[in-house]
Amino acid sequence: MTEVAAMELPRSGGRRGETILRLLRRPAGAIAALIVVLIVVGVLAAPVLAPHSPTEFDYERLFAGPSWDHPFGTDELGRDLLSRVLHGGRTSLWIAALATLISMVSGAVWGFVAAFRSGWVGEMMMRAVDVTLGMPVILIGLVLVAAFGSSILSLVLILGFLFAPATARLARSAILSELESDYYLAATSVGAPPWRIIFGELLPNTVPVLLARASIVAAAAIFVEASLSFLGLGVQPPAASWGTLLQIGYASLYSSYWYSIFPGVVIVVTVLALNTLGNSLQYALDPSRR
């Protein structure tokens, strides 16, 4: 694997291949990566894996506890909760993935532009970032959901927006440290064209840092979506995310103790795995630990 990567990407490729290896060598990172892969695959394969239809009612079995037929029990309409959790994961993960993409792309562009415009423009751009960073995420989330509704699209946009500023700050500092690096100085001194340095060297080198960040943003997106759902402002039925399942389960706590446990556990495990993956990536990428 290292060799292939090294052949294709002669200079910085070696670094990346090493990173992956170093990530996998840490047990926590490897386990986290495995869990994330399992969850993503499980959720994508929901139509195959789910034992029942996630929308089929069974008025004879409302709020049933776990059984062989329904390992997670059933919900308020007798739907199979395992199937609901698997399908609900699609909504949760889609929202998280798209929100992450938006926050990464917009945040990175913002941060890069701010880094290259070192004058007052860049300064203003970063101050704008500070303004949004200064307000509690959950509060802005509440206000924005109130303003733009809680359709899946608006949730994606809102969550993407919420996490963009911190990404911008990270992207900017990543670029700034690249600008101070020896190879950048060397490249500019040999007179390589600026666009080639930027697209050929600078940006690819910040990708790993941003990847680590993406993993953490995805975790945060799931987290905040669950919190908004807890306040009743998340995904609307019949679509269900893990957050809405948890919320309905909590509201029906006295009819079914089981209901809220499984969605809750799935949220915690996913966030845990994504966070650990992100941290391990960061760790693996940190040059001081080489």
């Binding site: 008025y59 308020e76 309905i248 029906s252 009819s255």
Partner: protein, 531 residues
């Protein structure tokens, strides 16, 4: 716009079922009202002031002490405690004198005299007399105040203090039920309106001791109260973040009483030691689906009947209310448990083929999209019902999109009225009046007495029959009219009744004397705690 007979309209104003969520108190039974020209004060037993009652409610605490600002049903519980009216409500829904000792009216029912008790004082010790009555009535009539009581009393042409203890009302047209309407005019200290919202000075049995808006409100006995001393040392109304934590707090005895808990918790409450579920004597509250009967497609009664047939009410009662409600399969505003219910009504038994047929007849093609609009976090039952309807409508090719909005967005959608809402189905809870005529009057829409969220078309034939029923002394004949009214309602289906359900209230056995009126509001005036 139709113009109706004034007399009819005035009667209706007073009668019309009051709105959902607003604690409805409107008027009471016609028979009771017509001969209630004299009354006696109800004697409460004297008692030592002991015990502190902790009362929990979910979905927003008390945020304003001015009774004219009618923004939350949750606040209604404090009204009889702080602000009595000239009349007060009894458990059967009739009214008796409270601040008044008696009243009389002219033969044409257009002039009324109310006589006041002489020893009434506000919580701050100031004397309460006829001038205060006049000031309060005028304040409630002022359109700028936005009082919820206004539409019930807006035919009052003049109100004057004849003596210090006598008030005269002159009406634009005859009304037999002014005492019932005046129950809605809560007497407050209007001498300083700016302090009303925060101080809550009234002549009621209790007064405000400690108040954290949206969180807790502690009431203690008013030393100047004219009646027998209340039996509690204090009543604390504590806002709960959600119904689950409310039930949790109740079960661990951090609350003595909880209001409006969900049906999903009934078994948990029943399993709690020393807990009882309090029920009203009659139920006149209902979960309904409202539609705009002035906009397509639901301006067509055929489309409304189609919707009614597409509603699997039995499944809804089973899944959303866990059996704790009475399905209204024949779509009647009168509960099936009421003696006035018309048992011969044609049933709108769940039948998708029939629904499809009627939808087609009304020109609604497969692929049509309706929106189901409900308030977020308020009643999970509504979302369960929405999903049942959604699934069934999909089978006949109609898409139902469920949308939940936070309370502010929800309310903003309907105000200021009038607006148009094509293709919209709104899930709400209606507090209707217990008397059949009043429950049936709930179909009244589109006149000045519009109570609903969405516009409705007037229905003159129905109105005149409701009014006619008020003047029929023979119970059998009256029931005949009720039966016909229910048939008309069933045929027109101005809104869809899913099921009748009271607000679920639980208390520990030590709490005595608290009762729920048929419209779902709690009365703690004579509550006490027996150790």
């Amino acid at each position: 716009m139709h113009r109706f007979d004034r007399r009819l309209r005035v009667a209706m104003l007073a009668l019309a079922a009051s709105a959902l969520t607003f604690g409805s108190i409107g008027a009471s039974s016609s028979d009771g009202a017509l001969n209630a020209s004299t009354g006696t004060t109800v004697q409460a037993q004297t008692c030592k002031q002991q015990g502190a009652l902790r009362y929990g409610l979910a979905g927003g605490g008390v945020n304003n002490l001015d009774p004219a600002i009618s923004n939350l049903a949750n606040r209604v519980v404090i009204m009889p405690l702080l602000y009595p009216s000239l009349t007060k409500l009894r458990q059967d829904g009739t009214v008796v004198p409270d601040l008044a000792t008696k009243w009389r009216h002219s033969a044409d029912l257009k002039t009324w005299w109310f006589y006041l008790k002489r020893n009434i004082r506000y919580a701050d010790g100031r004397q309460f007399d006829a001038d205060d009555v006049v000031a309060n009535v005028l304040r409630n009539l002022d359109p700028k105040v936005g009082s919820g009581a206004r539409r019930f009393i807006n035919d009052i042409r003049s109100v004057r203090a004849i003596t210090k203890y006598q008030v005269r009302f002159k009406l634009g047209s005859p009304s037999a039920i002014l005492p019932d309407a005046l129950y809605l005019v809560k007497m407050v200290d209007v001498s300083d309106v700016s302090r009303l919202a925060t101080q809550g000075n009234g002549p009621g049995p209790y007064k405000v001791a400690r108040y954290v808006p949206n969180n807790t409100l502690t009431l203690v006995p008013n030393p100047f109260y004219f009646g027998p001393k209340p039996c509690l040392r204090s009543i604390t109304i504590i806002a709960q973040p959600d119904t689950t934590s409310m039930v949790t707090a109740f079960r661990s005895r951090k609350l003595d009483m909880i209001w409006q808990f969900p049906a999903t918790a009934v078994s948990a409450i029943q399993g709690t030691r020393d807990a009882v579920i309090i029920k009203p004597r009659t139920v006149s509250t209902a979960h309904v689906l409202e539609v705009d009967t002035t906009s397509p497609p639901f301006d067509n009664p055929v489309a409304r009947r189609a919707l009614s047939y597409a509603m699997n009410r039995t499944a809804m009662v089973r899944a959303a209310f866990l059996g704790e409600a009475q399905a209204s399969v024949a779509n009647s505003p009168i509960s099936v448990t009421s003696p006035a219910y018309n048992k011969k009504l044609p049933k709108h038994t769940f039948n998708l083929n029939r629904a499809r047929q009627l939808f087609t007849q009304a020109g609604i093609k497969p692929g049509t999209k309706f929106t189901y609009w409900a308030q977020a976090g308020k009643r999970p039952e509504w979302i369960t019902n929405g999903q049942i309807l959604q699934q069934d409508l999909r089978k006949i090719g109609i898409n139902l999109e469920i949308e939940q909005a936070d309370p502010a967005t929800w309310v903003a959608k309907f105000n200021p009225s009038p607006k148009k809402f094509p293709n919209l189905i709104v899930a709400t809870f209606l507090s209707l009046q217990p008397a059949p005529a009043l429950g049936l009057s709930a179909a009244l829409k589109g006149c000045d007495c519009n109570w609903g969220l969405v516009p409705g078309t007037p229905y003159p034939r129905y109105y005149s029959m409701v009014l006619q029923s008020l003047g029929v002394p023979d119970p059998a004949k009256r029931q005949g009219l009720y039966d016909r009214l229910q048939s008309m309602f069933n045929q027109e289906s101005p809104f869809m009744v899913i099921a009748h359900q009271s607000n679920l209230v639980a208390a520990h056995k030590s709490v005595n004397g608290a009762w729920e009126d048929p419209s779902g509001n709690m009365h703690l005036e004579s509550a006490r705690i027996v150790p």
